[in-house]
Subunit: 357 residues, 4 copies
């Protein structure tokens, strides 16, 4: 089964292959009368676009989004919003190798086993190109959430090199191509990645996404908890192998006393003294910042030959040349933000439907 | 919004509060003509049942499951299977405190904010008692998967104490109340937990769940990937703060060479030389063991007073007495297995629906 | 596949077989803080209950509903509401015949073909007994809709005998066991049905359900239109063979002029001069009364032998003795009302989720 | 809420407005390795296309479909199939009137009330133009069903003029622009419609759709019955006011004896002597022809002025000039067939998923 829709009230369906004529998405359930035009979406796509530094694939795509429906005279109408990006950089090339040899670590063998057929050009449906539509949908989700909800992401670890949390400065993130929030970590990462790239190798990363201003009360327990829906959404991003909320895996080593988030009333408002929980209790937002992290594996495409097999069952060694990111985690930052925006928009509407506000 | 159903083709809906008359679930979409009786379900419930060691809550529940529909003459009929457990240990007690004072780290404040009302008795709907029905549903899912799919879980870390993977022995798991697979770690954990318990404290844990014999080809990319559905399912378990597949967060520190899983044909069968991927590529099972881990936070109920507030907005300090687990991770082991079983059963049917086998 | 849930935001899942230990439903997504107790549900069940006149089956069921979850101190909590009715009138009897011989017009042969197994006792899952849970869910839906929405149904045709619309008097409906709104039609129907019953025959009927006070704006076009969801809901009732909205099939013979509903402003309010549309335009409620009718086929169980086959493929003639309704349409009246209530409650929440009020 | 997806395993999402840049759909869940190209879809679109006779709107649209994803080297890949049709006949015109004056019988007032905004150009989202994508999706569904399932529709009543069933000849249907299966009714209809058209009036119709070769066992009771899903699907077509299966509303006047479908074994096969049921029992297909009819109201756009109101609440009289069908029922024939194909394809996959074949 393929299943290319996520969300319940704010539903996003994506379609398209890496080297087909276009990719796109349909956003259904968006509230009406929200101002929306291409200018609300394009900047987020530009931020994700490859080819902007030597650390991301040199594929050149204008990634120019078109709004095909659901917007009238600059406002959403409540009907499905269809977005499309034409694929422009479909180099005419020989796909002979990739057509028959399964690239290790890629979805090639899995798609072929499942469906008995696959569009092998550039990874087809399993290409990270699909994530452009997540970013486009996320831009619409941000408009639904409004200016009061502030979502931002950063890379917090590249290979063995983490940031120093004491130096975390969100203002730094958009000043460098690595979405690095720690000015002292940045040169370390750049040197490290340059070396990885030169060797034709690749490396993993950890991305953190934080949403501030999230209203308390979002989440649909027990099986639509805000954190479990977020886990689904982030784990569905290409190459993601782990997701955590708040303390995440570190919570396994904490005692109840260490992990407690004390509460106090301050000026008639509930305040938490800490945020080990990451903004969610019982699957419901508490009003604290919603904090998620996800781990991205190293790009599977490397210059070192790896034993593999062909479609016909012959042993081969596969070495992947071409336009690849040494660290796919970099471009995952805007994608992670977008997924969080979509999950929050969906739950905002779901909560309002049941509870009325 | 509340949302208490998971799965698409094998759909489980749970209901019930900790101290209401009963808890239950409805399993819809189960294939017909599968032999099923109470004896297929009860042993799994017994395994999760509290009160079996000093390390879990002393609440005594028989947890006797009834099959109310969907089974006829010992076989499933293809119609909804209704399972119910009567709550028997509802001690008559004064809930005055818990009714008005929000227990830190619990869902109390979140439910009240969201719904403006909550059944505060024993945590109501947010109680871990709900997980009994996951285990019951998981038992049915195992029958759907058949004997060829083998799912088992173990605790692999308690607080700071992890297992030594070289000593991992699945045969050990069911011989001790901590689901510990490492005979040398066991005494360390027991001593550590006894101390935690004596202090009225609590501690987190990491659980690992592995499914062997999973057919290649399961998963519904892009938004019903096997790993993202598993992430949702595991993150929805009470107190879970992180989920990872295969290398998980460790993949962030690996290079592409280190993380590669070489493939070779052996006797006409595809074999992988390693399983960094954890059994899934592009959201689709590869036929390798499916490996997931999840982190459980320490029980929030501790004897140390923690600053909190009341429903009416007064500052208070809350100390939780009563029947609590020092390490909720322990009882999460059978729950994690059950969730994996349900996800796999669902995807088995979904794949068969689309691809025909 | 079995699929026993309907609704999106107000979701009802029913379970249970005619002669199993119980039947029940789970209502998920109900708004919180709605006053609800058994007294809100039981009267509607009593109204549907068989054995109340000689024209319905003499099966005696107390149909006593229990609320097992989702209600605390007399109010809904926003968590799933589990309702259950124990089956009490399960006469111990020999089901040998019905077990092997397919009753013509019943679902026997269809269930066996589909699932390879069926609970043949009293029709099992396909029994009209399931509709009791629709009525129970409908009672909750009425509470969600509030006192401003008024839903009522009536039988408007029995066999060849229709009512005279000029005499339609809703006040009559609950004064007679046939839900007849026309005092002059009533004696005709009674005599007709007495004759049908004496002959061991059966007859079809048409039921009309009207909802007044429905807010304008409900409906989720294009594939969740209010009228198409209503058509689904009504057609899913046992023995229903047709559904129509407003003029329905009569619209086929009308010209555009005849079918037009002129609009005028009156005291600042939009008023329609007629209601050929039946309260819905483009799948969205207009604020006019929502009018639906559905046709119920004659009970298939009759005393005249009908050629049939056995499970083993032998030709037989089947004559159905036992406790059967000569006109199943009668008991379909409360069921039709309940389905309309559920559809409206669902759309009320869906609309509020998207549009905010 | 808007909700523009239907189906569970074979899911179709449509998007687009009458006078926007394009309309389209995404088909998700289609089985892999089904031969598919534009040539499989275009002929069905051509059959629905307006402007082919004087009895349908003179709007000229090439309705040229593009396949944007999900097909590779002439076969479906199991990933989402995106189809798009560019709107080419968007005459530049003054929409001033339609922008502010609600056309009686149209969805204008309903959309404005619901969403507070509407794309008024040509009906926007509520235009029958959307049905082109249903026909496109239906063409793909037919490929999924295979050659063994034969779906065909015909108009069986135009205004007061029904066909004579004794003369019903399916071979006639595609030889005339009215999809009339009765050669003697055809000239009567032509004369009648010519008169209706000359007067600037309009008229309703009844369409019948029949599927032969449907495997027994399809349908997902209780809330995904084959007939209730079909009712939903057909009722969702623009202007449809009633749906019936088999005898439909006529069943209300039948006795149990008259409505019985006797069964007999013939050469080891179950045979029914009649088909009052219309091919479905208990919501499950029996293997007999699946027979549905639906009533279409007269086109609301007529030359006679009808009282209406403006967006600003002024009383006006609205007379609709322009390119309109005197009988929208005509073009509903291919749409009805397409909806039946989609419902059957969905249930084929759903049944296979649960029951394995």
């Amino acid at each position: 089964m393929s299943y290319n829709t996520f969300g319940h009230m704010f539903r996003v369906t994506t379609w398209g292959e890496s080297h087909g004529p276009a990719i796109g998405c349909v956003i259904d359930g968006c509230p009406p009368r929200i101002p929306l035009d291409v200018g609300d979406i394009q900047p987020w796509l530009d931020r994700r676009r490859p080819g902007q530094s030597k650390f991301t694939t040199q594929r050149q795509e204008a990634d120019q989004v078109e709004i095909l429906s659901g917007v009238f005279e600059g406002q959403t109408t409540g009907t499905p919003i269809s977005l499309m990006i034409r694929n422009t950089d479909q180099r005419s090339r020989d796909y002979g190798d990739i057509a028959t040899r399964y690239r290790p670590g890629h979805a090639d063998v899995a798609y072929d086993t499942k469906y008995g057929i696959r569009d092998y050009r550039g990874g087809g449906r399993s290409s990270a190109r699909e994530t452009a539509m997540r970013v486009a949908a996320g831009a619409v989700a941000r408009k639904v959430l409004g200016a009061g909800v502030h979502i931002r992401g950063a890379m917090v670890q590249v290979g063995p090199h983490g940031i120093d949390r004491a130096r975390l400065d969100w203002a730094q993130v958009n000043t460098n191509p690595l979405f690095c929030p720690d000015p002292q970590a940045l040169p370390v990462w750049e040197a490290y990645l340059a070396d990885i790239r030169k060797k034709g190798s690749s490396i993993g990363a950890v991305i953190e996404v934080v949403a501030e201003g999230v209203p308390a009360g979002l989440g649909a327990p027990i099986y639509g908890k805000l954190d479990s829906d977020l886990a689904m959404a982030l784990m569905s991003i290409n190459a993601v192998k782990g997701v955590e909320i708040g303390e995440g895996f570190a919570a396994a080593s904490l005692t109840g006393e260490e992990n407690a988030d004390p509460m106090r009333m301050e000026n008639g408002q509930l305040r938490f003294a800490s945020n080990h929980a990451g903004g969610v209790l019982g699957g419901i937002s508490t009003g604290q910042p919603l904090v998620a992290r996800f781990a991205v594996k190293p790009t599977s495409s490397i210059l070192t030959p790896v034993p593999s097999v062909t479609r016909e069952g012959e042993n081969v060694d596969v070495m992947t040349k071409g336009r690849h990111d040494p660290c796919v985690g970099i471009r995952a930052v805007p994608v992670g933000e977008a997924m969080m925006a979509c999950v929050l928009a969906d739950h905002l509407l779901r909560h309002r439907g049941q509870a009325g506000s």
